[in-house]
Amino acid sequence: MNPWALSGIVLVAAMTFYLGRRSSRFASTTHDFLVARRTVRSRRNAAAISGEYLSAASFLGVAGVVLKDGADALWYPIGFTAGYLALMLFVAAPLRRSGAYTLPDFMEARLASEPLRRFCTVVVVVIGVLYMLPQLQGAGLAVATIFPAPAWIGAAAVTVVVAVNVMAGGMRAITVVQAFQYWLKLFALAAPTFVLCMVFLGTGGTGGAGSLGEPAPPVFREDTTVSVETDVTLEVGGETPVWSPAASGGERVWLPGRQYRVEAGSTLRFPEGAPVPVVAGGALDNASWLRPTEDASDLLGTYSLIFATFLGTMGLPHVLVRFYTNPDGKAARRTTVQVLLLLGLFYMFPILIGALSRLYVPELLVTGRTDAAVLLVPTAVLPGVLGQILAAVVAAGAFAAFLSTSSGLLVSVAGVVATDWLSGKVRDFKIATVGMAAVPAVLAVSLPVEDLSLSVGMSFALAASTFCPVLLLGIWWRRLTWPGAMVGMTVGGGLVLVALALNVVSEYTGGWAPWFVEQPALLTVTAAFLTTIVVSLGTARRVPDDVNSVMLRLHAPDPLGFMRDRADARFGKADERTRMKRGRHRK
């Protein structure tokens, strides 16, 4: 129990509340709630986009996979960043110029089809819920790591704070909150990293578990008792004596090359100097941890991950909705350049922490809870008050990550639901917010926790196989038709969901899944592109009549003034409405 961490988390929640309230006083129209009146300047928007994007997967998950998989895991941060380059090169400016206010609205504007719009709404909701799940589960994990409290408390707390904030001011409120949370997260990882690196270099470059440069597996630096909370299958890199009080044999020796199954709730004790066992599938010793891409399935899996993350970012609803808040297309592009800088700056730190945690908290490899590495490393390196304060800073940052990403997701999904399934008034937006916050909260409590980066990787694969093809082709290819888009999205999304189901089955039956089940994007994205193109060519009669004028609107430079706001047609102009309300127009 760490009192500092509790106050850190409470402080972040209070700050979020305050900033949200302060800016939601001005939010009164649908424009405010959906797109913050499209007046967010590029620098603040870039910080808000980064703040929203750096989720639990980035804050906790990246360090966790680096701890487990080593060099191969470095592709996650690369992909998370490179996705924005793809977004900028092909999507950002035209998407903003379309004048749409949600992703389904863009699809309808481009392809003039009501059924496609409804279908896109469903996909947005699925991706949103799938992405919100790991955030809430991460919150539960963080709470359970820091306090002796059940995991659902964290999920519930995040859900409540986010839902209240979003209900109060929608996009208008969360823009400031997210911009603030980016800088908070950067600080919360950067400061501990600097201190830990100082300590690490001060002790001569070797941590407790031996040097990373040695090929041998990491070792326990003292007698260590590990309690396993979920069923795990372990492997060892060398002969490992283990003492498990529950088993009848008492002390045993685990041998390399075999797998040992450990049930949830059992306790294992390892003597000082014993090699650390790892959960099956992780890098066994430091030599393989340091080396990227060792076998062919690693190679294909890496390419599949590159595919998913490079192309998936542009299909994430909460990322796209932030681009609609820019004043014009040029600002959208400039925002993205700054996002690339901010993300690159951030990702240095989780990588470093992940590497350090292999030296200081190797016991996480046994329990499989590698995502907790960021939270536990400070106290492991620096026992005492300084370590506790650093841990509190990290915990506050982690909470900022859960809050900002889930508020972004909630705004985007609630916006889509409110305008497509309800009538799009401010009250509908609030109803949709409550509904869309409840669904993932219930799921997060009832489903088992996976590796954060992996489940987020799956959401990326889903986004890349559904929205990425239709966005890219819709913006750059005149002959796209709505049946083509619909079939392509169904094929891509369906394949990913099948892979997801297989993955869950394989987890319960011994982890037999090959690389294309664990990360299917390489195949599913290709399939989605091909079917979209083939069906579009086959239904060439359905090319909308106004394709030329839509293309002109998407691509004509901003000063020519072709941009028209679709929300104006439906909800009226924001400024006019507030003025009418105040009754000052007759003055």
Binding site: A71, L74, W75, P77, I78, T81, A82, Y84, L85, A86, M88, L89, F90, A93, G213, L290, R291, P292, T293, E294, A296, D298, L299, T302, Y303, I306, F310, K330, R333, R334, T336, V337, L340, L341, L343, G344, L345, Y347, M348, I351, W476, N548, S549, M551, L552, H555, A556, P557, D558, P559, L560, G561, F562, D575, R579, R582, R584, H585, K587
Partner: protein
């Protein structure tokens, strides 16, 4: 300037406060609103009147007829306008693909290189394994650089296009 003015008045345009009033250019001994201003000490000159001349913008300055015609033409999508916008789309797509190609080639070559050359995968540079530098540090400046470069290219294409339309 005008923006500030609108914010001050809650978005409502108000008539020029000096309209129809005779505002003296040189301050007179008795200012227009004597009640609000305390009598100045005799040694100092009286302060200038507080009426400020505001600029009222009734409409955007009209663009030249030439550009207006070009815009209408674009909007009506005559064959000429269609060709122009197609050229712009092609130019933008080409620079996007070029940059994406460069980045993909550089990053995409890494896994293959690591896979086929174990010596490359275990090489070290000042004590740090080379793959960690190539994967953990190098890609981020590369991506940022590519973003900056594309931003310049795209803005240049758009500027050229606007210049061409307006001439």
């Amino acid at each position: 300037m005008t923006d500030d003015y609108y914010r001050d008045t809650g978005g409502i345009r108000q008539p020029d406060p000096t309209l129809g009033k005779r505002v003296p250019v040189t301050p007179e001994p008795s200012p227009p609103r004597p009640a609000r201003q305390p009598a100045p000490p005799p040694s100092e000159p009286p302060p200038p009147p507080r009426v400020r001349r505001q600029r009222v913008v009734l409409a955007e300055p009209t663009k030249s007829t030439n550009s207006l015609r070009a815009r209408v033409e674009l909007e009506e999508q005559t064959s000429w306008g269609e060709m122009l916008i197609k050229d712009l789309i092609k130019a933008q797509l080409r620079s996007g693909l070029l940059l994406a190609g460069i980045v993909l080639l550089l990053l995409g070559a890494l896994p293959v290189a690591f896979y086929y050359s174990p010596t490359f995968a275990t090489m070290r540079l000042v004590g740090i394994p080379l793959p960690w530098l190539l994967l953990g540090v190098a890609p981020f400046p590369l991506l940022f650089g590519a973003g900056l470069w594309y931003n310049r290219l795209a803005e240049r294409h758009e500027r050229d296009f606007v210049d061409m339309i307006e001439n």
